[in-house]
Every structure is written in C-alpha cells, then in structure tokens.
C-alpha cells in the first residue's frame, strides 16, 4: 500500500486551519485539523484540482498607461496559470476599453473569460488630462 501525507493551509476564512491529510493508494483516509466542513471541502478540491482566480495585465495602445489590468471571470485550474499568462503575452489591445469588457473568451481552454478590470480611455501618452470638473 502506498501511504502519502499532505499538508494544507485552508484559505476559506482568516483562521487558516492547518490541515493534514493521509492518503492510502491515492484514497483519502483522514482529514485532520479543519475546524469546519468548508475546510474539508477546500482540501478535497485542492486534492482533485486546485483552482485560482488569475489577475494579470495585457499591453494596451492608445492609452495613457502601457498595461491594462485583467482577470479571469472565474477560478481556473492552477496548473494552467502559466499557459494563460503565455497566451496573453502576445496580445496587444487598443484603447478605449471599459471595466468588465470581455477581452478573450475561453482562455487557454479553461472555460473562463478574460475581462478588463478598469476603464482605459483613449489618450495620448504624457498628455495632461482635463484637471477640473
């Protein structure tokens, strides 16, 4: 029998339970240290497929700033984070862009979309914007 022990820190709430898991031939036999059921769910998901929201930037032209901040609209498998980053590295967008604008659908086959997280007006770099309202 193949016995494996794994350790997780739960991030569902600020307590951050330190959870120990024991696996026999890849089957979970014990989950210990979790103060609530959500901690066990968290660990089960981490064992199956860890999921993360990705936030990053994409190059943008015609705006005051060089980079547009973006995010995935839902968590994606952790193992695909770098694939998404690589795919985005080759892209250049054109301002104007609005917050929540859909930038790319189904990025890197994750089923998640890349959306803008801020407004990016069309402006010349270095130009002083209207300063009074």
């Amino acid at each position: 029998m193949d016995v494996e022990k794994k350790h997780f820190t739960c991030v569902i709430c600020p307590i951050g339970c330190e959870i120990d898991v024991e696996l026999h031939d890849s089957n979970v036999v014990s989950i210990e240290g979790s103060k609530c059921a959500k901690g066990k769910e968290f660990v089960s998901q981490e064992l199956k497929e860890p999921m993360r929201i990705l936030t990053t930037t994409i190059r943008v032209k015609g705006a005051k700033w060089a980079m547009l901040p973006v995010r995935t609209d839902k968590p994606i498998p952790k193992r695909l984070l770098f694939s998404v980053i690589e795919e985005l590295a080759g892209i250049e967008l054109q301002a104007p862009i609005k917050v929540s604008d859909l930038i790319i659908t189904d990025i890197a086959g994750t089923g998640a979309n890349i959306v803008a997280t801020r407004n990016m007006k069309r402006e010349n770099k270095g130009k002083l914007v209207q300063i009074e309202r």
Binding site: V11, I15, G16, T57, R118, L128
Partner: protein, 411 residues
C-alpha cells in the same frame, strides 16, 4: 475657493469619505488628488480580495476603485486632479498647487486627511553595502509591472513579508522572474495567511523567518545580497551569513503615514500608529480636521479603510453643517498584549469601533476586555499580522468618566 468638506487624497479612504460627506448633507464637497486620475494605490493593486466584507464581492483593486469613482461621477462632487496639497492650517485652510491654477487656497468648514502612506525605503532600515541599481520598494516594483509594463529584474530577493511583498513575489513569478526567497526578520510572517498560501506556497517560493538582509553587493547593478539569521533581539548572528546571487532586492518593510500636512496643522501624532491621534468620529485633536484610512494607521483590509472613510466623511459633514460643536473626550488606552490600538480618543458621539493589534501571537482561545465596562469579546486566536476589529455600542459608553482600556488575555 470655499468648500464645506475638503478631502485630501482619492485612494479608498478618500473616495469613501467624499461619498459619505455628500450623502450626509455636505453640499459643497471638494476632492483633491495629486495624481492624474482618481483611485490612489488601488490602480496598481490588480489582485483580487478587495471589498469582500464591504460589498460581499471579490473585486480587484482597479474594479473596487472604478465602482467608487462611478458613484462619485453620479454626484455633483467636484474634484481636482494633478493637485498637490502643500499646506494645511489649523483653521482648515488648505493650500494647494496645480498646473492650471498655480498656488491657491481653499477655505473649508471641515477637512478629511486621506493621504495614505509611503513605503519605508532602504535608508529606513539601514542595510549596509554598496548602492547599486536594483533595490526597489515593493510598491514601486508593483507600479512598474502593473501600470508601466516593465519587469524590474529577473532574479529577485524579497525582504519583508508584508502583504505587498508577498503579492509581488507571486506577480513577478507569473511574469517570468525567479523569486529566490522572502526573508522576514520577525519569527512570524507579516502578511495575511491567505497571501502566504496563495502567493508563496502556490509557487514554491520559500519564506525564511528570523532572517534578514545584512549586506547588498554589486557596483552598477545588484549582484547579490548577504542574508543572516537573527537572534531573539533581532540582532544578526555572526557566522550565519549566506550569499544569495540576485539582480534585484524588493523591500516590503513597512509603511509610514504621510504626516507632513498633519504636522503643519498642529495635529498630535501617535508614536504607536505614527498617524494622527484620532477619535471614534475620526476627528483629530484639531477641531474640524478628520483623518481616515492608512494615514491614521496601517490597516490589513480595504474594508477597514473604507469603514474609517465612511465615519470620517459622515462626521466631517456633521461638523460642516452643525452650528455648535461640543467636545467631551476621554482616552482609549492599549493595555496587556496590545501593541496597537486605534482610535486613541472617545468623543461620545458614535459607536466605538476598535482596531487592535496584539503584541504577541496567541493560538489559543482568548478574550478582549474593554474596561471600565464589563465587556468582553471572545476570539479563538490573535496574531500581530491580523488586525482585530470589535465594536462597542455608544449607549454602553454614555456614562463613563475614566479612560477606556483594552486588554488581551488567554481564557
């Protein structure tokens, strides 16, 4: 110019203060921002985790800012960008400068300070060694990467485990840099646990506790740093030195409230928070000048920053529109195992929302006593890197005459 309420700084505290001053009856609200757009540091904090308590939504920093900016655009609040406040007097006259008006003054019925913090630089912790390029504070590196699109280096050592340092360790890893390790002089991490897990553990970035950088090497560019273990008194242990080759050192070693304006206005500063001494109304010791967000004390969560902004905005509007101001005040004192306590005064106007940092970590059930009230709050643990928030209702406080003291003890 004239204003009912003038807010200095448009980060999360300032944006929320403006909205709440406006909603609470201040008609002529003016927001002054030194940068060319509203939002402050939120614009470069592209990670998520903002507003979970306030809005129950997991926003990124820019999304959180856009939401508040949109609310402001829907009011008739005025704002001035590219406008640097250079002086504040105790009579609430604000002196500012911008390219359009030159130097100008704003006479304001009340003022809200929301200038936030600066990062502690290399000089603030006196790291010996040469002075090459490649030493950045974490926030500066964050701006380079997330707004300007430059990678500050390829092989990176992070000193300090504050949240910005942890966030940047992940960000630089995603952008292709190699983060060799995060070094923390204390024997516990500075940042939130979720950031340790999601920024370091997820990417196998090692965290070295009780270690610090004791020398920076390199001529033109950083070539490496020497790290040493430290003893209980945080002094480097001789013989423990280890050389780490790298081209960049990021510093995440603390934030310092922007105090120049406060000092000029004669506002008493707290040696513990390094920000203005403040009451539960967010009013400072100078009548009509309020303070909120990280200029008051460094908060862990934007939700807490926003909460103080709401209180400051509401009370600044109240001050600007009320005819007579009465002031009764008692002290709020940090007792056993309390390293930081905010606010430091009680003015008998609002509920007392206390923000507490313990001195020593306790991983057992504990209680927080608020004396002379017979009032206790029970917690399962207390950690110096996680601020505790408790609320004392104002009707419990009406009759008290002696200072309020807060103690943390094990149950």
């Amino acid at each position: 110019m004239e204003a009912d309420v003038t807010v200095i700084g448009s980060g999360p505290a300032g944006l929320v203060a403006v909205l709440h001053a406006y909603e609470n009856g201040a008609k002529n609200v003016l927001l002054l921002e030194r940068e060319e757009e509203l939002g402050g540091i939120l614009k470069q904090c592209i990670h998520n985790g903002f507003g979970l308590e306030q809005f129950k939504i997991d926003y990124t920093g820019p999304e959180y800012a856009e939401r508040l900016i949109e609310e402001i655009e829907n009011t008739d609040v005025r704002y001035l960008l590219n406008t640097m406040v250079i002086a504040l007097s105790p009579d609430r006259t604000v002196t500012a400068v911008n390219p359009d008006k030159g130097v100008f003054k704003v006479k304001s019925k009340s003022v809200v300070l929301a200038m936030g913090c600066r990062e502690r630089p290399r000089g603030g912790i006196n790291i010996p060694g040469t002075r090459p390029a490649g030493v950045y504070t974490a926030g500066v590196a964050q701006r380079f990467v997330n707004i300007d699109g430059y990678l500050p280096g390829k092989e990176i050592v992070v000193l300090g485990s504050g949240d910005i340092g942890l966030i940047m360790a992940r960000r630089l890893t995603l952008e292709g840099a190699q983060v060799k390790g995060v070094y923390e002089i204390m024997d516990y991490p500075g940042g939130l646990k979720r950031n340790i897990v999601q920024c370091l553990n997820d990417f196998n970035i090692p965290l070295h506790l009780s270690q610090t950088v004791t020398e920076i090497r390199g001529n033109e560019r950083v070539e490496g740093v020497v790290v040493s273990r430290v003893d209980e008194k945080m002094q480097p242990i001789e013989g423990s030195e280890q050389f780490i080759a790298c081209d960049t050192l990021l510093l995440s070693v603390g934030l310092i409230p922007e105090n120049e304006l406060s000092k000029g206005a004669g506002i008493e500063l707290s040696p513990i928070t390094n920000g203005p001494v403040t009451a539960e109304t967010m009013e400072t010791v100078v009548p009509g000048i309020f303070s909120c967000g990280n200029v008051s004390t460094v908060f862990d969560l934007v939700d807490y920053v926003a909460e103080t902004g709401m209180t400051a905005g509401r009370n600044a509007a109240r001050f600007a529109t009320a005819s007579k101001q009465e002031r009764k005040s008692i002290e709020v004192i940090a007792g056993e195992n309390v390293r930081m306590l905010f606010p430091q005064r009680y003015f008998f106007k609002d509920d007392l929302v206390l923000f507490i940092r313990c001195a020593k970590p306790i991983e057992r059930p504990l209680r927080i006593d608020v004396s002379p009230l017979d009032m206790q709050f029970k917690k399962l643990y207390a950690r110096p890197n996680e601020m505790i928030r408790v609320k004392v209702p104002k009707d419990r406080l009406r009759e008290i005459t002696e200072p309020i003291e807060v103690n943390i003890t094990e149950r």
